[in-house]
Symmetry: C2
Subunit: 291 residues, 2 copies
């Protein structure tokens, strides 16, 4: 039988939370969806867009009676949230999340949730330069990957239910240890974000120092636009990701700095064959990424 | 009166040269277009695709009788090419190029071309991850920018003719000093390429060291794909750009390294407000780039 919830609560009705609400409602996966949040205007938009049926500002109220609670707030707030309303969870309720970092957060959540309820970590890998439910769509997760991060404590039935939820959203669902998740995402997502944000910051300085008065960015082609698209992502969200995946990220930035320094030295030395070798290796691995 | 050439020669019938040939032929801007190259298969494809009317392997032969000669080979070959066939140029012939670096190359070309002919530097800023005429299109330059790099020596009529050619191709044409061109493109194009190639190389090492045996790239979302799309560009072409714009590039890589190091230090220190401030600045400048 298909996954179904009598009542679902979405805590944090932003791009991801709101889009998941649209999936739940459009596909009839939940009889009712309640949104929990503070910004009334955003919550009204969520109702208008069919992401939620109604909203409350008190999370305890929203969580009561819910069979599914989705934490879709910044990962930094998980502890505060769970301490606030975990005691209100129904027997058998499943708490899941959509956070971009897992690692210690999963164990923390497991420790804060009462025995009668279950936690399943989830990370839908979906585009996030825009924020807010207004940018949401029931199609956001279609064709995307969603990584579940079960531990030895994870209830197998709850895991299966969350797997079916994301499959219903059109995603390809994978499972992975929470700490491995942070290594993998550190490499394919967090490091590229650090690179892109830093590139934009460098261009500010280059513009001011090298070509003052010239609208440098007017000369950008699609290359720069694509390379730095993710630098338009939410600074708050990425601050938290940087902090929560700090150790992996520092290691990976260090590896990146070394490769950048190598290419810089080859350029400085005018070593044509050496430069070409570096670029060729980069191109080869890039071509393993389907465009 | 619209721009028109009795005979045009395209030296190097790749993505850019071939696409320009398609523009010349489709729009009737040239009575005949001859391609100069070595790879017969590629040249045959160029004829089939309507990029050129015929081809020759001897550039001297191709250049004779041409009113327009477009150098569309790697910038590193300009000197060799011009020394080979500049003596065969017709009186009044215009030599132009499509290279991504200008600077000293323009003066070099001006010095190698006889008094009876004219050089006009041009750089169409069009996508170049793919190579070869088979990836070409008469629409490639539509909506793109094309930067002309006149000097005090540049013949004004020849400059106007090349301007009209690129406007006919659908491009927005700008003029800029050749050395300023290299600073601007160093910032908005060459530095991002160095960043993207280095990121791919770092990911190779991270994959091997951190998660051996795991197909890391299978977990990549659109963020990594966009960020590193330009790392699929031609290593030969980018080797030459790195070498010919070496000084600007080294300066800019150094600025970038400093901004990366700043963000790394803030992450290492767990400085949330500091991280957010850096990311916010990056996001603000990114938003000045129309997506």
């Amino acid at each position: 039988m298909a996954v179904h919830f009598k009542q679902a609560a979405i805590v944090g009705v932003g791009l991801i939370g709101g889009s998941l609400g649209m999936v739940l409602k459009r596909q009839g996966l939940a009889d009712s969806v309640v949104g929990v949040g503070r910004r009334v205007e955003n919550l009204r938009t969520a109702v208008e867009l069919g992401a939620i049926d109604r909203y409350v500002s008190d999370a305890k109220e929203g969580v009561r009676g819910a069979n599914l609670v989705v934490l879709a707030t910044p990962v930094d707030t998980y502890e505060r949230h769970l301490k606030d309303w975990a005691a209100c969870l129904e027997p058998g309720a499943i708490v899941s999340d959509v956070g971009s970092v897992k690692g210690t957060l999963v164990g923390q959540a497991e420790g804060l949730i009462p025995e009668r309820a279950y936690f399943v970590g989830a990370h839908p890998i979906a585009g996030r330069e825009k924020t807010g439910v207004a940018a949401g769509s029931a199609a956001l997760f279609r064709g995307a990957r969603c990584i579940l991060t079960p531990t030895q404590k994870t209830n197998r039935q709850a895991l299966q239910t969350i797997r079916e939820l994301w499959e219903a959203a059109g995603s390809t669902v994978l499972s992975m240890d929470p700490f491995l998740h942070d290594q993998v995402l550190g490499a394919v997502s967090h490091l590229p974000h650090v690179v892109a944000f830093s590139l934009m910051n460098a261009l500010v300085e280059i513009r001011e120092r090298t070509v003052p008065g010239l609208d440098l960015l007017a000369y950008a082609g699609s290359g720069l636009r694509d390379t730095t698209r993710i630098a338009a992502s939410s600074p708050e969200m990425w601050r938290d990701i940087c902090l929560w995946n700090r150790e992996n990220l520092i290691t990976m930035i260090t590896v990146y700095e070394r490769h950048l320094a190598t290419l810089k030295q080859l350029i400085q030395a005018g070593d044509g064959p050496g430069i070409e070798r570096e670029l060729e290796r980069g191109k080869q691995i890039r071509e393993q990424l389907n465009s």
